[in-house]
């Protein structure tokens, strides 16, 4: 992929602006940008004829969000679950070579998340609390656009969610405890932005949880190798 000279100029200017204060603070010689480094970076081979065949490992900390209709039938209930997620993305099999367009590399993979959520509602004397351990495993089909500076990876996902926990209703000191089991399916779309090894990941989709529809989304900060 060849960049126009004007785009190179813009990127170089941006790096100068970003790097200058740090360099000044350290009282070091202004050595950036190094023309040689840029050329090495920009001239790396990236074309459909030479796809990136490396597998990628992802680890991130997502905040899983689910919105569904609550017991009132009208007002929605929001559930936010902090989690840890890991996965792998492999180069897609040859059957998916047709997706390697515009310099993209198709990837197939999976990830798995584990999270815990705690919620409460009600008043001081009459309340409900819920503790839930939630696990989500998804299959992923992604397109890996290895652009200058950043890698952009739009993807689609489909998978399942399961969980178990306890919920209780407490009335003036008397408590009733119930088990809470969750089974569901989810699918949707997302995107990973990768800058060096750091990733920002956003996705959104729909699901069916214990037979009821839900809208799901997540945002995550993580690493990709």
């Amino acid at each position: 992929m060849q960049l126009s000279s004007s785009l190179r100029g813009v990127i170089a200017f941006a790096l100068i602006v970003c790097a200058a204060p740090t360099a000044a603070a350290q009282d070091a010689e202004p050595t950036y940008p190094r023309e040689k480094d840029f050329e090495t970076y920009f001239d790396r081979p990236r074309s459909p004829s030479a796809p990136n065949t490396e597998s990628r490992i992802t680890v991130d900390l997502p905040y899983l969000m689910s919105t569904k209709v609550g017991p009132s039938g009208g007002a929605t209930l929001f559930e936010g679950t902090p989690a840890i997620r890991a996965g792998m993305l492999f180069p897609a099999p040859q059957a998916l070579d047709f997706m390697n367009v515009l310099g993209a590399t198709a990837r197939l993979g999976f990830d798995s998340a584990l999270g815990f959520t705690f919620s409460g509602s009600g008043t001081l004397n009459i309340s409900g609390t819920s503790f839930l351990m939630l696990s989500e495993t998804r299959g992923i089909l992604a397109l890996d656009f290895d652009l200058p500076i950043v890698t952009v990876m739009p993807y689609v996902f489909a998978g399942g969610v399961g969980g178990a926990g306890l919920k209780s209703v407490s009335v003036l000191g008397v408590s009733r405890v119930y088990t809470d089991l969750v089974v569901g399916l989810r699918s949707g779309v997302g995107v990973v932005l990768k800058l060096w090894w750091v990733t920002l990941r956003l996705d959104s989709g729909v699901g069916l949880r214990n037979g009821q529809p839900e809208v799901v989304s997540s945002m995550a900060l993580g690493l990709m190798f």
């Binding site: 017991p71 009132s72 039938g73 009208g74 007002a75 009600g122 009459i126 209703v169 009733r176």
Partner: protein, 429 residues
């Protein structure tokens, strides 16, 4: 032969599994109909609440909120501006039924989806919202029964089908749904002839909709509407004209404030009769001033009179303020007037809840249509409402006889001295 037998067994097993799943699905989708036992929050004694098992007797499907007398609906958004607009459209909505149908359509509503489980034959809500829903359903059942059987209200208030908005909202307009009232309250809205139970936000103890007496109070507004303003076409038109008036003059404002005070007071009376608790609102209202001004045995109720609702000396002696705009101004605290009226009836019942239930409560319901007739008779041809406090005093006193009438008239004399001494309440002469 063995293969054939195996195939047969396999098919049978599959058929059996399908049959079992079908039955299971049918059972899961079958209505959760009465009679049912359910665990709800119950009011065991004045101020005391606990979890208890009750019989739900009028549920058509408890799982979706459908009942014989009312439906509990989710997602109800009552639109204020559209409601006022329908009042002025006599061509489209000529009577109360048409008006109500239109406003219920605008408010919308969907089936509730509580999380219920059955333990040893008892239906339980497995989270706070679902427990609240079950309690609300039970409360409305009890209140319908109270008005029918104890207050002897045979009007449309007890015969017409009602709707209860679970976590409903009062919004400015359906086009611009800016919430006006969204949490920590319960209300009756005459335009939809339905109740709103709002979600919990800052209530510390018993949510208003879980307090059965509060539901009895809100039902009292439906009883007032049905018996006073739906008792005749003329009364309904007066209500319609005055509710649609957005810029009332002082005279109309005074009449409206008086009527609202009477409406609130009589709703409190029925709530006390229902719950046997003269301070029924206290468990649900954190603001002490509010509960103190409505406590029938409280200092405000004892010392306030119609002539002195918010006198400085009264506030100084009771420490309770019921101050605010004058009777002829917008924002008048009509609950204070209501307390003065109900205190008189409470004293007239010898502060005995059984007398209140058996004698005063039915007498008040019987008096309401007469109040409607009096309003019609006193209102001018332009349907600008006219109302004086003696109208309700006379209507109630006329429905009582013997010792009870004497007691109530004595109590009226102490609270409404001028009206009695001036002969404006003939039944007390």
């Amino acid at each position: 032969m063995v293969t054939s037998s195996t195939k047969f067994s396999g098919r049978t097993a599959v058929r059996g599994w399908i049959a079992a799943m079908t039955l299971g699905t049918s059972a899961a989708c079958a209505p959760l109909a009465s009679p049912l036992d359910a665990e709800v929050l119950i009011n065991t004694a004045p101020g005391d609440y606990e979890l208890g098992v009750v019989e739900i007797s009028t549920a058509v499907d408890l799982a979706t909120g459908r009942g014989e007398d009312f439906d509990v609906l989710g997602g109800v958004k009552v639109a204020g501006l559209e409601g006022i607009d329908t009042l002025g459209r006599r061509d489209l909505y000529p009577d109360y039924d048409a008006l109500r149908t239109r406003n219920r359509e605008t408010a919308g509503g969907v089936a509730v989806a509580p999380n219920l489980t059955t333990v040893e034959g008892v239906v339980r809500g497995t989270d706070f919202d679902s427990l609240q829903y079950l309690t609300i359903f039970h409360n409305f059942e009890q209140v319908f029964a109270f008005y029918r059987d104890v207050a002897n209200d045979g009007s449309e208030a007890t015969s017409d089908f009602g709707i209860v908005g679970f976590y409903a909202e009062l919004v400015l307009s359906s086009v611009a749904p800016v919430p006006i009232l969204g949490a920590d309250n319960a209300a009756y809205y005459p335009m939809t002839d339905g109740w709103l139970t709002l979600r919990v936000a800052d209530i510390e103890s018993i949510p208003l909709a879980m307090n059965p007496a509060v539901i009895a109070h809100e039902f009292g507004h439906r009883s007032f509407m049905a018996n006073v303003f739906r008792s005749s076409d003329a009364a309904f038109e007066i209500w319609r004209t005055n509710t649609a008036t957005t810029t009332p003059d002082n005279r109309t404002l005074r009449a409206t404030n008086l009527l609202r005070g009477v409406d609130e007071g009589l709703a409190d009376l029925q709530a006390v009769a229902f719950s046997r608790d003269p301070n029924f609102v206290a468990p649900s209202v954190a603001v002490a001033e509010v509960s103190q001004t409505r406590d029938l045995n409280g200092e405000y109720a004892q010392f306030a009179t119609y002539a002195i609702l918010d006198d400085a000396s009264l506030i100084a002696s009771t420490g309770i303020g019921c101050t605010g705009p004058d009777l002829s101004e917008s924002g008048f605290n009509f609950y204070c007037l209501g307390t003065v009226l109900v205190r008189a009836l409470w004293v007239g019942a010898d502060s005995d809840v059984e007398v209140l239930r058996n004698e005063i409560s039915p007498a008040v319901v019987r008096a309401l249509p007469n109040l409607g007739d009096r309003i019609v008779a006193e209102t001018d041809a332009n349907e600008v409402i006219d109302f004086e406090i003696e109208y309700i005093l006379e209507a109630i006193a006329a429905e009582l006889t013997g010792v009870r009438q004497t007691r109530v008239c004595d109590a009226f004399r102490s609270k409404f001295f001028q009206q009695i001494t001036n002969g404006l309440v003939p039944s007390c002469n």
